[in-house]
Amino acid sequence: MRAFTYTEPGTVTEAVAALAAAGPGARFLAGGTTLYDLMKLGVEAPAAVVDVHRIAGLATIDTSGPAELVFGGGARMADVAEDPVLLRDYPALAESLAKAASQQLRTMATVGGNLLQRTRCAYFRGGRPFACNKREPGSGCAAREGLDRGHAVLGISDACIATYPGDWAIALIAFDAVVDVLGPAGERTVPLAQLHVEPGEHPEREHTLAPGELILRIRVPTTGTGRGSTYHKIRDRESYAFALTSAAAAVALDADGTVTDARLALGGVATVPWRAAEAERSLVGQPLSPDASRRAGEIVFADAVVGTSNGYKIELGIRTVVDALRIAGERATQ
């Protein structure tokens, strides 16, 4: 780990100013569970760290409003996961946090930092000698001919097949969340669906935030569909593991069981949080049956591209969709 300067400003405005003043390569620090980890691995080496994790007001949670749910960028994962309104009305949001990482990590980590966590690709994290375009642009991609059981099958490029690892963003994108950010040029709002970018030729670029933009809050429009939702996460052990496949699914059903609204997003299978809009449309107006769910899953993976040992993710992903929609449907009728 390289030496770095550390500042702890008292307000968000000061934080943005401090980061701008620190020059290129400076980073905000929240819970540190991604940033410190990567610094210890030598993958990130910021010259300056601006700590925002104690800024009053950045950690507010407000789920009482009629129009939207509001989560401060500095709110702790553990606190949001236990919010009673989420647990009752948006189980997918609560579960996406509760099934992430471990209780210790969730107590440290923030819902803002969570969105910007970086891939678990071992070649990325392992440093040299592994070729990795994300870590060292132009060096190649060791994963393509290597151990890719955890890698993505959707949204990949020749340059990078790394999976977006987070859970929370998957549930958020299904509910049309937006992110308010504050930067040197002022405040703006970014739809979550536009926050992350596929690797293309530049896997080192993962999101659309400008340098120095701070996530102030995440807002989710309220919807009755939230009640019939789940975050279904399939992994190599029952807890404390990243998703092999996951699905955030939500449905609203009318009196005779026809789907009137469907939300579907997938994790563990794509380079970015993956909203499955076409699959959603295929469900609306139909009864929610295993067959319809399977077709929806197949639509998601129609364009999937597999590598050496991640081909199972297609069938597992489809089944994850089927099972998630079943759970969502059961909750929608309760």
Partner: protein
């Protein structure tokens, strides 16, 4: 289990200290003036270091020393533990320019703080000449070695009767080839040490299962008298075989401490523990079993290829148990070693027995299925009283009772035979599987010393290490029960070369060696104090009556048939001295039967293990609390090995890719269901006076087999590799 009078019930004697954090592990030590070391490691898998650049590292503030090569005569190899030496491998880094595996240390950096040392170590760079690597059993360029032709007779192939000839005229033959992955022990406590010189004397604090080997190995490495070295391993934060020998970093820390004139602490990172310490090697097993139509097994062949390093031959003993699980009169074992470009592999809990039992018990299950026989009934019908290899009796063998009692506790009679025939209302597939395990009844020489004080205190020093298995508790309980004194009055000293000689504590022989020695010392104490030969005693009064403050006695224990002078001499020189399982007149094994339920959910197919019933025959149960914990822990390991754990190797790069606790998926609490354990608890009449056989290792043996068999019962699919993961069940 035998009822224990409430007054003598012993919880773990150190439970409170552990829970409150009062226990001090090896590297918790912080002597004044302490410096911190870190290792820089090779980024190639094989070749030579052509140059190193340490300038950037030396420029880091607080750096005191960057050492890339030991000086002339400063450092020697300690030799390989199984080749007459003391080290986990013979290769000692920093002695020449050879790189034998990725992650091999190329420099040690010493600084005022761990942060500076770590930063500086990352700044050490090297240039290399690389060579072609061979990393797995099938890789081009591996070298295959016939074990029997190369190693001493104790590693010969086990043979009885005529396996091939008999197979030819058996009614049925079943055969399978099984692949088991590399695994890492991953104890919570990282490998590390604190080295301090007091003049010409060296003191090392290190969590180790073998303080004796560290002492004598360092003496050989540093060229000093072993008497000048003391090693203190007060508690081991998990060893599981990985801490059974001298680690290559310890001598480097000692040299760094000598050069800087300050105590030096070196703690490996988790990544380094994956690369610079032993691990469970990959192995491949071919098993053939021939039987009569009624299920009588008449012949078996078990052939094993096991990975080793280029520089050492880590021997295999896989067939030692498979030859004895049943009374199969015709058996042929065969073991080959495959040299690959890795650090030397070694012992990881049930090192041979877990893979061997998975392969063998899966094949036995295939046989039962093919013959339409109940797997428990068929096993019962094949039990044996004599050791098929030597023809001698077992010292004790309660396999039938383990199976019967386990089946009853589990409710086995409700099992329906056909695979896929048991389902829950929601479509969950249910499978019930059984498998046996065995582990040699080993015995190790040990010395025990008891000092009784007139104030009632009893200090017991004995060979052995506390690795969480509860040796302190077992010793304290033995003394408390014998003399009728409270466990609180007894202090137990283990893992300390300043007391009695310290043996390699592994292979489940720790307690089996310590307790008989303590038992003998108790006899000496009674004699010295003129007490009755047994029954409660007023030790304090008896000591006071001698007019002295303390009375000290010492006794030794050696295994049956072991020449005492020879093995005690080996013990005193820090060399492995264990005996067994074959003793004059008898053969000793511990046994276990595991019964497992798996549930495979509909749609996704995640495999869960809601309940396990395990019944062990480990002789007398020396400490009920820690024994139950050992057995449950072994089952947890088996669940991990069956369904979760594998160290991933990219054949282009070498080393291990998932080298941290997030990516190397050991089971978490949520993976573990109900584990119901029971013990036969009949003392073994021959192995030692106390009647104990080992438990720690046998606990794990067969669990993976039982899980694989349960998965077969649930699905009709036989998986011949581990771990069995949900991608295997798709399709």
């Amino acid at each position: 289990m035998t009822a224990i009078p409430p007054t003598l019930r012993t919880e773990r004697v150190d439970a409170r200290d552990k829970v409150t954090g009062a226990v001090r592990y090896g590297t918790d030590r912080v002597p004044p003036g302490l410096l911190h070391a870190a290792l820089a490691v090779a980024t190639i898998a094989k070749g030579r270091v052509t140059s190193t650049d340490t300038a950037a590292a030396e420029a880091v503030p607080g750096v005191r020393l960057v050492l890339t090569r030991a000086g002339e005569g400063e450092l020697a190899s300690a030799g390989f533990l199984l080749g007459g030496g003391y080290g986990f491998q013979s290769l000692q880094p920093l002695m020449d320019d050879r790189i034998a595996y990725r992650g091999q240390p190329i420099a040690i950096v010493v600084a005022d703080t761990p942060v500076a040392a770590t930063e500086a170590a990352a700044l050490v760079t090297a240039t290399y000449e690389t060579e072609q690597v061979s990393l797995d059993l099938d890789a081009e360029g591996v070298e295959v070695v016939e074990q029997a032709a190369t190693l001493p007779p104790m590693f010969a192939d086990l043979v009885a009767g005529d396996a091939e000839g008999t197979l030819a005229d058996c009614d049925v033959r079943v055969e399978g080839t099984y692949d088991l992955p590399v695994q890492h022990q991953n104890p919570m406590e990282l490998i590390g040490c604190v080295a301090e010189w007091e003049g010409d004397d060296l003191v090392v604090h290190e969590g180790s299962q073998n303080s004796g080997a560290i002492r004598h190995g360092l003496a050989a490495q540093l060229g000093i008298d072993a008497e000048r070295i003391q090693v203190i391993s007060p508690y081991v934060g998990g060893g599981f075989g990985q801490k059974n020998s001298l680690q290559p970093g310890t001598a480097l820390a000692a040299i760094a401490a000598r050069r800087t004139g300050r105590p030096v602490k070196l703690v490996s990172t988790r990544m380094q523990v994956f690369h610079n310490a032993s691990f469970r090697p990959a192995s491949r097993h071919r098993v053939v079993i021939g039987a009569d139509r009624d299920g009588t097994m008449r012949a078996a062949v078990h052939e094993v290829d096991q990975q080793t390093s280029r520089h050492d031959l880590y021997p295999g003993s896989y067939t030692e148990i498979t030859a004895r699980l049943y009374g199969i009169p015709n058996f042929r074992g065969h073991q080959r070693l495959v040299r690959t470009d890795v650090q030397t592999p070694g012992y990881m809990r049930a090192p041979y027995e877990h893979p061997a039992a998975f392969a063998f018990e899966s094949t036995v299950d295939d046989l039962a299925h093919q013959l339409g026989l109940d797997p428990v009934a068929m096993r019962l019908a094949n039990d044996s009283t004599a050791d098929p290899i030597t023809g001698q009796p077992f010292s004790s063998r309660h396999v039938t009772e383990c199976l019967r009692r386990g089946a009853e506790r589990f409710g086995w009679e409700r099992r329906t035979h056909e695979p896929g025939s048991m389902r829950a209302a929601d479509g969950t597939r249910i499978g019930w599987g059984v498998a046996l395990g065995a582990y040699k009844g080993a015995a190790v020489p040990a010395v025990a010393r008891i000092t009784a004080s007139s104030d009632g205190g009893l200090r017991v020093e004995v060979g052995g290490h506390e690795m969480g298995q509860g040796i302190r508790t077992a010793v304290a309980r033995t003394v408390a029960l014998d003399l009728g004194v409270p466990a609180a009055d007894i202090s137990v000293v283990v893992g300390d070369t300043r007391s009695v000689p310290q043996h390699l504590t592994a292979g489940s022989w720790g307690t089996a060696g310590a307790l008989p020695a303590v038992g003998a010392a108790l006899g000496e104490l009674r004699k010295a104090l003129g007490l009755a030969a047994d029954g409660p005693a007023d030790v304090a009064a008896a000591v006071a009556a001698t007019g002295q403050a303390n009375v000290e006695v010492e006794a030794t224990y050696t295994a049956p048939g072991q020449p005492p002078e020879i093995v005690l001499d080996r013990l005193r020189r820090g060399l492995p001295a264990a005996g067994g399982p074959v003793y004059p007149g008898f053969t000793a094994f511990s046994f276990v039967a595991h019964f497992v339920e798996v549930r495979i959910e509909p749609v996704i197919g995640r495999i869960r293990v809601p309940r396990v019933v395990s019944v062990a025959d480990c002789g007398r149960v020396a400490s009920p609390v820690t024994a139950a914990s050992q057995l449950r822990g072994g089952v947890v390991w088996g669940i991990g090995a069956a369904l979760r754990e594998a160290s991933e190797v990219d054949p282009r790069y070498g080393g291990f890719l998932n080298a941290d606790l997030a990516e190397y998926t050991i089971p978490v609490n949520a993976d573990i269901g109900d584990i119901d354990v029971d013990f036969i608890d009949v003392p073994d009449p021959l192995l030692n006076d106390i009647g104990v056989k080992g438990l720690g290792e046998v606990s794990m043996v067969g669990v993976a087999g039982a899980i694989g068999n349960a998965i077969f019962h649930a699905t009709g699919k036989r998986f011949r590799h581990l771990p069995i993961r949900l991608d295997d069940l798709l399709g």
